[in-house]
Symmetry: C2
Subunit: 468 residues, 2 copies
């Protein structure tokens, strides 16, 4: 029965090749049996931004590259697969191959913190098709989740207009590990820190916290709970005042001559309560005691609170950040755009009814005005040159090895911040943002037409878009 509860000892699964959809593995078996060892190029992108999103902040590359460097199948994993029904006709060679499996490909990607838009590849992989296929699921989930949360965080931080935003969402994240990754992504998007201690340890993110209702309730007297916390954490005493009655609790703090770093409001009318709290604190000489607010906040609530004059100094944001609640999935895709075979390279494109994918390896060129602000992007064939444009995809991995160490997370956060500052204000609006200008290059459009024509005539057995 032990296996049913998840292997307790087996902690290896972080880099398991099984962290993928079964069809990647059956297709891998088919490629192997048919001796299809060609290099394939896949691109990972978001077709269109979720509602109300004017931009995305790329994140998750670090976890993606870490996985690509370490992904493998251990003996037990391979044996598990071999026993599964679909693999009954597959011979031993494939399973021996899996035991030796490593990712050996090349990766181009936009740096974490870089802004991206619909249709723009975040990542492009060229590798033997089996390798590129097996890693698809991991890459999609990691990059789209972190990008989604970093993008949401940028909105929340923007709404807070310079006030601190702390990521508090671990308890609402999609499992404990999602909480850790959400904390990282929120930090990239501009959060000051996180409540998640493991994220702090693993990624060197500032960790921050206040106190819970249970702490106040653990003492017979609310005042007692405040005093004891204040004594122990004089520099970090954020006292939670809404357990019984918010204003009465503030009066207790004042009457007891406590001097907390901040009070935390977690329910009720935050505008009225923060105004009255500020008035009472100031009157008592506690002008430097800050007001921290939490409780189902998001960018809209924060913008509204500040527009209505709430004197709140910092925000704790949970569910909205850790789950990107209004847009909890990005819909990223991972599409084959080119395959090398028989010494030739053939472009690939998909054009079923609604979903067209442009063929070939791409680069995104970003154009700036004289002040460095972004004017628009062109998605082009990788080999095209635009001397005025900045290519945003860089080669980050060759032959399965990273080309450089990971940047400091603080640098990534600053990079994101600078990027956002360079984006037009209209594209940064919280509601109905302007669409940032992204076009395909003429050459790329021509290539799409070419591949489309050749595949439209499949009965003639044309080799689609094959070039020398």
């Amino acid at each position: 029965m032990a296996g049913l509860s998840g292997d307790k000892v087996d902690e290896r699964s972080r880099y398991s090749g099984l962290l993928t959809d079964l069809y990647e593995l059956t297709m891998a078996a088919a490629y192997f049996e048919l001796n299809l060892t060609a290099n394939a190029t896949f691109e990972l992108f978001v077709r269109s931004l979720p509602p109300e999103r004017g931009f995305l902040v790329a994140a998750g590359l670090e976890q993606a590259l870490d996985y690509l460097e370490h992904v493998h199948f251990d003996e037990a994993e391979v044996e598990y697969l071999r026993r599964q029904a679909p693999f009954q006709q597959i011979e031993g060679g494939f399973f021996e191959y899996l035991k030796r499996f490593r990712f050996t490909g090349e990766v181009w990607a936009v740096a974490e913190g870089t802004l991206i838009f619909g249709e723009e590849p975040l990542l492009r992989i060229t590798a033997p098709i089996i390798e590129a296929q097996i890693v698809e699921t991991f890459l999609l989930s990691t990059l789209s989740f972190e990008t989604m949360v970093a993008s949401k965080a940028a909105r929340v931080v923007s709404a807070a207009r310079g006030r601190s935003v702390v990521e508090f969402g671990s308890r609402r994240a999609h499992g404990p590990e999602a909480g850790v990754l959400a904390a990282r992504a929120a930090y990239i998007g501009g959060a000051t820190g996180t409540s998640n201690a493991e994220a702090g340890r693993r990624f060197h993110i500032p960790i921050l916290g206040t106190q819970a209702h249970s702490f106040v309730m653990a003492y017979p007297d609310e005042e007692d709970a405040f005093r004891k916390f204040q004594e122990l954490f004089p520099e970090h005493s954020v006292l939670l005042v809404d357990t019984y009655n918010t204003l009465a609790a503030i009066d207790k703090i004042i009457d007891s001559r406590l001097h907390p770093v901040a009070i935390r409001l977690d329910s009720g009318d935050l505008v009225a309560l923060s105004l009255e709290a500020r008035r009472r604190l100031n009157r008592a000489g506690l002008k430097d005691t800050e007001i921290f607010a939490s409780g189902d906040l998001d960018e809209y609530v924060i913008a509204d609170l500040l527009a209505r004059g709430a004197p709140i100094d910092a925000f704790g944001v949970g569910t909205a950040l850790a789950t990107s609640k209004d847009a909890p999935a990005l819909g990223a895709v991972y599409k084959l755009v080119e395959i090398e075979a028989h010494g030739a390279s053939a472009y690939r494109a998909k054009f079923s009814d609604e979903k067209i994918t442009h063929p070939g390896r791409k680069q995104v060129y970003r154009f700036h005005d004289e002040n460095g602000n972004f004017r628009g992007d062109i998605i082009a064939c990788a080999e095209e040159q635009f001397p005025d444009g900045e290519p945003i995809l860089r080669c980050v991995m060759r032959e399965g090895k990273r080309r450089e160490a990971a940047p400091d997370l603080g640098m990534i956060q600053r990079h994101a911040h600078e990027q956002i500052e360079r984006l037009g204000k209209g594209c940064r609006r919280l509601t109905k943002p302007d669409a940032y200008r992204v076009t395909f290059s003429e050459r790329l459009e021509a290539l799409l037409r070419l591949v489309r024509q050749t595949v439209r005539a499949p009965r003639e057995k044309a080799k689609p878009g094959q070039v020398a």
Copy 2:
């Protein structure tokens, strides 16, 4: 720099005590310093169900208990905490305590697969307050995530009216580990299986898959791709027909005399396409070739497809299942309800403006009619007796050890299915479901009034609700 990318070797973090919010740890330090070693009781529940949800399917208990049995802090984790700013005034004894930290408490919980409703505790913990506090964040995220996905799956499965639903959402899950847990939860809620290979291995869930557009595109000719896949996987050939042109692809299958297990439609008008596909397949004698549909499906789309007569045999559901897209957070809470001190037990209740928590340890009694169907629940004090009611919280852990092995996941799935069958049809409606009848017992309401009165008069230093 290595630490910035996450520790590559350190795989211990699955059971780390750091998988929590910082404030749990600062509060723990405060309890330790103040020698507050009392047993506390916390209950975990969802205050109200998300929109359109008539019931929840409890899930995630297995991961919660596994964590409680193994949670600890290693040396490096403790040293990390000791270096953090808030802990500067905390003496060494607390850190020595953390190194020895284990969960030693008692846990009552509803079995996985059991239906629960708003305000009903899924889990109740009694433990020294530090222990109960530190595990809060992990328990909330694990139980609410899996419960949310299992509940969503139950809706999707119900909409499919007996047809198979396969969980396909790993690529849209909130990171790779969330994908594995989502697969488990979806299976509990009634999914036939998952595409997630690691979930298959770890939890013995049936794994299922089809083929991707990239497989079709990897071959110069679509027909070739179909034929090769069919040869290798004769019993598992689900051929994806929408890469270029859906009906043309079906004609190719027929003309080539292939006999796939199923075809998969992934885009376009699924009603029209499935009707025409069925007609062409039947005419060609492929009556047993099933039609599998996917592509941004959820319970509403599936119900609509079937209502409009689409002859679809099975559904692959991704984003909607793995993220519970329309309700991606449950808003579960973990509230202190009782604390033992000085040989007495004091009830605790929170009653800030909107959020009232009933005090004391609770049991939920479920009442059935003569056919075994659910009539309603009473949330009562734990020591109350209702001979006609079935108590749904069971003691699952004592002194930090599980009382029984984990049930088979298939049994949990069957339990969930039987429970759902016993719920009134009105409560199972996909939209505007009837509210299931849940009331608090008279004794519990009286206890709330009592505690409220004593805490309303805090100036008199009353010991709230203290009993002998």
